[in-house]
């Protein structure tokens, strides 16, 4: 059974669909309880697989406690975890409320690590285990205007790489997915359109991204950056000093801001919650 967090978001749904297509049983969780039931029903009907669902606010430790209690009680044989749930808010740091800033950390990091640890303990001991963490292309740079988000994704990327080595001997693989913008909702689509050509070329469809990620995770790859152009951006990031990258991004962003009268994003504001 595979556990997917943030299953009702655009990328979460694509992962759920891809796994279901492969005939894998699923455990889905999301803050949106109605959407979760609807999604689970749809996948069950079409693919005839076993789908369990449990609604949970992952950013809340009590709610997480209920989730883990449910998992322990049911003793589901997990052999995979896809951490999709993540969040970002639009706007410069100074315009964000303290709740928003800590909220990003709470969901993107705290919840992620907590779920990973608990699921690894519950894993089916007789087979290998696959962890997929959804980081971001933003993980490769310090990004002005998305400072908290980008840094949280950097944390996830580094953490995934380290954990991968640590758990190699236990038959656990850890793969970090680092996508650029993804058209998951109307907001993110308008944000991508606002970026013009750059938006178009960096953007990849969630369906193929999910399929490509699963394929690579099964091979035990460490990092997956979807798209040739995005891979180039990543490689540039490896050679240019972070300070200069931060400056360049700010230049580009503020120009985009002038053009659109608002801040243009490389990523949708809310991936999943």
């Amino acid at each position: 059974m595979i556990c997917i967090t943030g299953a009702c978001g655009g990328l979460g749904k694509a992962f759920a669909q891809e796994c279901a297509r492969r005939g894998w049983n699923l455990f889905l969780t999301d803050i949106n309880s109605e959407g979760l039931i609807c999604l689970a029903d749809g996948l069950r009907r079409l693919y005839g697989i076993r789908v369990e669902q449990f609604s949970c606010d992952l950013s809340d430790s009590e709610s997480r406690g209920l989730l883990f209690g449910h998992l322990i009680k049911n003793q589901l044989p997990f052999w995979g975890l896809i951490n999709v749930a993540g969040i970002d808010y639009e706007g410069p740091f100074l315009e964000r409320s303290p709740q928003q800033v800590t909220g990003i950390l709470r969901l993107n990091l705290e919840a992620n690590l907590d779920v990973t640890l608990n699921l690894l303990r519950l894993r089916a001991k007789d087979r290998s285990f696959m962890v997929i963490n959804v980081a971001s292309l933003a993980a490769f740079y310090p990004m002005p205007l998305k400072a908290t988000y980008a840094a949280s994704k950097r944390f996830l990327l580094d953490f995934s790489l380290a954990l991968r080595e640590e758990l190699k001997d236990y038959g656990v693989t850890v793969t970090a997915l680092c996508p650029a913008g993804m058209p998951t909702n109307e907001n993110s689509i308008s944000a991508i359109n606002a970026q013009g050509f750059a938006g178009r070329i960096t953007t990849k469809n969630v369906g193929p991204v999910a399929a490509g990620t699963i394929k690579r995770a099964l091979k035990g790859r460490a990092v997956y950056v979807p798209g040739l152009f995005n891979t180039c951006i990543k490689i540039i990031g490896l050679f240019v000093p972070p300070r200069i990258i931060a400056w360049a991004i700010r230049e580009r962003w503020s120009k985009a801001q002038c053009r659109n009268g608002r801040i243009s994003r490389l990523e949708p504001p809310v991936l999943q919650s």
Binding site: G35, L46, P208, A211
Partner: protein, 399 residues
């Protein structure tokens, strides 16, 4: 209103009735005295469309019609005078005609006698093509045409009653979700039974979408497949018993010429592994034709109900501007500028919904008021059957 009136008046369900072809079709049908139940995604836009449809009915002088045709029943009788609305060549403004005519089972054979609203002699440029049968008026301002009886035995004596009779209701539902489609069907049943109606006469599966990007639906399926194919499939199935009870039931699904030169990708029907917006659109429109063919096969014995796939041709609508990337927008802008107005497609819908002629043909695919051969793939019986069974599974119609 007297319940027996409801029973005689035709009823139509139109999905996506708030804009484009759907709105134009709703207007045309309302002008023919058909009671409309629209389905739209946003309440605000539904209300706007409702207002617009009612306004067009009022401006076409339905109240006069009501008075004149009251008490008129049965084919073959002379109508003293009917007031028909016809479009000008561009199909935008409506002009009123006074006409006398005879009711036939297919509608009303009317002789236009006095156009009011355009100058005498100017009628030659006016087309009376409500039924889609174009008949330009002669110089003498006399034109034989076929006009539908605006109100079937209409009891409407005043304007308020005319509005009530025109009856435009709507249901707010997101057709990408199978749950919402099922709920919409339940609500339609509720409205119909509340009014004492036992049947549904016309279902126009018009709502369609295009998306440059892969988007998942609440059920975890692909957006275009869900909205363009699954929603019509499920809605039709949920309303099929009511449609079968109609004396002259019609299911009209708006397909497209883009269904040519494509196939159903069975091993990745959502195209999730290699998504292409246009590919997904073409596939969903092919699915419309396959569905129409299969529904006709399945209801075969029930002679009163027919399903048609409508090819509107290139129509100037907003479909290419929603959920698309800049390239698709640009292409659609260039392309749709050459397109016809939604009214053109609406007249074909009206023709398929009310005219007796389409029934006389075995063909299911119609374009420009003529039957047309759909693609070879669309004629494959085994593909239609397979798609039907797959759709049943997706919608949970069969365990």
């Amino acid at each position: 209103m007297d319940p027996s009136t409801f029973r005689r008046q035709k009823t139509a369900v139109i999905t996506g009735f708030t804009s484009g072809i759907g709105l134009a079709t709703a207007k045309e049908l309302a002008l023919c005295g058909v009671r409309i139940i629209g389905i739209g995604r946003s309440r605000a836009r539904c209300m706007e469309a409702q207002k617009e449809i009612l306004a067009s009915v009022i401006s076409a002088g339905r109240d006069v019609v009501g008075k004149e045709s009251a008490g008129f029943e049965g084919p073959g009788k002379k109508i003293p005078r009917i007031n028909a609305a016809a479009g000008d060549p561009a199909g935008i403004t409506r002009t009123h005609f006074e006409a006398t005519g005879t009711r036939t089972p297919a509608g009303i054979e009317a002789i236009v006698s006095k156009p009011s609203g355009i100058e005498p002699g100017g009628i030659e440029t006016a087309e009376i093509d409500i039924a889609g049968i174009k008949n330009a008026g002669s110089k003498s301002a006399m034109a034989a045409t076929k006009v539908y009886e605006p109100v079937v035995g209409g009891p409407l004596g005043d304007k308020a009653a005319a509005i009530e009779g025109a009856g435009v209701d709507f249901i707010v539902a997101d057709l990408s979700s199978t749950r919402e489609v099922a709920r919409a069907a339940e609500e339609i049943r509720g409205i119909l039974s509340w009014e004492g109606r036992e049947s549904l006469d016309i279902l126009v599966n018009n709502a369609g979408t295009f998306s440059s990007w892969y988007a998942g639906t609440p059920d975890g399926y692909e957006l275009q497949f869900a909205v363009n194919h699954l929603a019509p499939f499920l809605l039709t199935n949920k309303l099929l018993d009511l449609l079968k009870k109609s004396e002259d039931g019609r299911i009209i699904t708006v397909s497209s010429g883009s269904h040519y030169r494509t196939r159903i990708k069975w091993d990745d029907i959502f195209l999730s592994r290699r998504y292409n917006g246009l590919r997904a659109y073409k596939q969903s429109k092919l699915a419309n034709v396959l569905f129409t063919a299969e529904v006709n096969r399945r209801i075969g014995s029930c002679g009163n109900l027919r399903a048609f796939a409508l090819d509107p041709g290139l129509i100037r609508t907003q479909i290419g501007f929603k959920g698309t990337d800049s390239l698709a927008r640009w292409i659609w802008k260039k392309r749709s500028d050459k397109g016809k107005l939604p009214e053109t497609a609406a007249r074909l819908a009206l023709f398929l919904a009310l005219d007796g002629k389409p029934r006389e043909y075995p063909d299911i695919y119609w374009k420009d008021f003529k039957p047309k051969q759909p693609s070879k793939y669309a004629c494959r019986e085994e593909a239609a059957k397979r798609l039907w069974e797959l759709s049943e599974r997706m919608c949970g119609l069969k365990a």
